[in-house]
Symmetry: none
Subunit: 131 residues, 4 copies
DNA sequence: GTGGTCTAGACCACG
DNA sequence: GTGGTCTAGACCACA
């Protein structure tokens, strides 16, 4: 994990630290910036880098392991699992995420974002993620 | 509020009831299904319909009032404010929502959704909202 | 929860406190000593009674809720769910428990327990549980 | 140790490897499948067979030696000790194992196992062990 | 006043 | 030296 994959978190945010870490790493994983076979830094090291308790990083890793991104074992570190996208599809979760997307779009519109702007944002995100 | 604008909530969901109500109403407001000038049902009536405490509905209305959708003066019920989209733009909030969108897209990809599917979903949502 | 259902835990045991609580309560639930519809004491009160942190009790309740014994909601306490035995059967878990039983019996034999003694113990347990 | 006494472990299990080995061997020892006077395979050979570090196997052997099953003197391999069942009885340990049995039975009932099924399982295990 | 979340710290398990 | 467990304490969400 080098400069290319550095992540940053905001301890003053209402979003819990562990979730910020999970989210940041998931983006890097989806995008392929962190490739299968690579090892993530040890929980304690990353914790020091980010200025958080190691349990906070640990929780983030555990969640990504549950999502099928990491192989996480005692004494063996955290390794990114080899697998191609699309991963195993989880219909129930997808339905839930679709609802979240609907609500998020409504919030964006409510906050004054034009439909065009939202569409443009999404294009950027999907291109980012495509390869 | 008639059949067209009926909303439904799931009391067993992990999403708190008041947020389900806020979200559902916001979608209807953004879409224009509930038009400016209309009155929302009285807190107590909607509460009974949904099977929740009236404080729960009250909280939902308050939040929508804060977002600029409702006029909530004492004893006069909740009236949808007259205003055209786009509303006042809130850059800080938009930035935050953009981050949420990024993470949501990563989660969808992580859950096995093809990029095309995500794009199609968003299309539907934006068209739904335009007219 | 009265004298009949009082439980006791040993803080010096190698078995974690939360598991001792889960185990003790599960026995009472299986046996029917704590009946469906009853309310368990609030986490904080039981915690004080047992001399542990409320999170410890909380974890125990959560686990029992996952097993389908409790309805556990914010602000509404912990209520024993109405349902008849046998509950929904979980084959994978049962297979795992069978393996555990096999190993436990081997350990008992290894510790010097005659086969007859083990059988007698089990009879007592099953009779206890039957109604 | 031949085909009859081959053991298998699951490296993906939550149960640590060394415990799987201890448990599997103890069952064979209690059952008499591995007889007194026999030699267990050398630590390194078994480790390779099972795909684990030899320390893992070593730990398993040590534990069985503590339980009085193996003679483990340096350079002479692991020999099964001559002794008849019942072995020296350890009341304190038995009490603990009885508690474990009680909790295991409750878990089985909780997972949907009928009392009859549990009894049948135990029968099989005890008969298996008797001869 | 209920249960729940998040983070912290001491200690353990495993390789 | 790796990740993991258990308990604690401050604070939050909900009714």
């Amino acid at each position: 994990m080098n400069r290319r994959t550095a992540i940053q978190i905001d301890l003053d945010s209402v979003v819990p630290a562990y979730r910020q870490i999970t989210d940041a790493l998931r983006v890097l994983l989806v995008r392929g910036t962190i490739a299968p076979g690579e090892k993530l830094p040890p929980v304690r090291r990353l914790a020091i880098q980010l200025g958080v308790h190691f349990n906070t990083v640990s929780e983030a890793y555990r969640q990504l392991a549950e999502e099928g991104w990491l192989d996480l074992r005692q004494g063996r570190g955290a390794t990114v699992i080899e697998r191609g996208l699309p991963l195993r599809s989880d219909p129930k979760k997808l339905c839930d995420l679709r609802t979240q997307l609907r609500n998020l779009v409504a919030q964006m519109r409510s906050a004054g974002a034009p439909a065009k702007w939202i569409a443009a944002e999404l294009w950027r995100l999907l291109e980012d993620v495509r390869p």
